[in-house]
Symmetry: C2
DNA sequence: AGGTAATGAGACTATATAGTGTCATTTTAA
DNA sequence: TTAAAATGACACTATATAGTCTCATTACCT
């Protein structure tokens, strides 16, 4: 009732054309993302996944082997998009920080994080992938910008800056007690975090309020 | 094979004495904690919980109603102990910070957090309880100490300080990619975090390394 | 064309698990 | 002393779900 609302049409039978086949895997991953995000791994049945993707169980098993295989493929697919930001050079440290805040507090990425944390015992590899392609890359990019704008001496502040950018707000997001921030709130929080560490472009050093 | 290793003796039948009855609820909660922490909510069966607590399912249902009731009781019980530190006044800001780092990075509390994050959609009330009795109280206590040692102007740094105390290390803990820090590592991290915000007692202002 | 591969539809199996019922046993409470 | 309450042991029900099998259908490939 919550998921597959738009498309109710049934797929035609028989072997799919090349184009259909190519598109189908991505469709399944997209559908799986939605279902897993809203119900978690353990509480999601293959039947629900199949009907959300408008595909039969057979196809899912043919593509991904089993439920764990689908989950793994889905997480890796989404994780690969976490940090891929086109032009690093277009950003100042401030705008980069604001984008990180906005994106990492989004429903999608908070949900992904929640999923991987929940299943970290069963899928330790996914936890590693998410950390390496997520946090580690963000910190590295922050370090690049700090180096360019503030010099070598401040580079060690990249990691604490990242921690402040997430901050208590992100913990509340993981617990589901707060809604996602707006772009405006994200920018304000990024500025406060930079000020907190003396990394602000020109404004005063003491932050007024670090909450979103 | 992993859980109930020490006590294999079966309990005698019949109605328990008053003392046995009083102790039994706590025993069940303790056993449930261990099992839930290692297997999560969804993947833990009542049968396993019952045998870990050396109690039959009937007793569990009599005490807690159902599986969700047991889970809720267990989380609330543990959450109530998160922040209960005896004497606030015995601590300096530094030792308080170090204790927070050490305790919140422990296997027990990281596991609790993981559980509640995983089930935040099903048990939003527990997420609220954990946040209110955990993070919120820690931040308040940090604020008290900052006020006492550094004055009113620095009190707004309590929340960012808390974020730095957890830091990237705590995210790695949630993902299960790092072991718990030693007390020594916790103290070093606390000092670095304080220095980062200019809250250090007397040492230099620039932190050398914020990792554990 | 004709053979093969991939799919939908849906039945089917095997298993796990939440929760209940029954009965004997032991303590409590009056 | 005795009825009632609480418990262990364990069978039992109902349901859910992962994964497989069969068959008809459709597209791909030579």
């Amino acid at each position: 009732m919550t998921e597959q609302s738009q498309v109710t049409a049934e797929r035609k039978r028989g072997r799919p054309t090349r184009d259909e086949r190519r598109a189908r895997e991505a469709e399944i991953l997209t559908a799986a993302l939605g279902v897993f995000l809203s119900s978690g791994f353990g509480s999601t049945s293959i039947d629900v996944l199949a009907s959300a993707a408008r595909v039969t169980k057979r196809t899912i098993y043919a593509y991904f082997g089993d439920k764990a295989g689908l989950f793994t493929a889905m997480v890796k697919d989404l994780a690969s998009t976490v940090s891929l930001d086109a032009a690093t050079d277009r950003h100042t440290l401030e705008t980069l920080a604001a984008r990180i805040v906005f994106r990492l507090h989004s429903d999608e990425l908070v949900g992904l994080h929640r999923l991987v944390i929940a299943e970290s015992a069963r899928f330790p590899e996914l936890a590693r992938v998410l950390h390496d392609q997520g946090d580690a890359r963000h910190i590295a990019r922050l370090a690049e910008h700090i180096l360019a704008e503030q010099g070598q001496a401040r580079v060690p502040l990249a990691e604490p800056l990242f921690s402040l950018l997430l901050g208590e707000a992100h913990r509340r997001r993981l617990l589901g007690v707060d809604p996602a921030p707006t772009a405006r709130q994200a920018l304000r929080h990024a500025r406060a975090s930079l000020a907190c560490l003396g990394l602000a472009p020109r404004t005063g050093r003491m932050p007024k309020n670090l909450s979103l």
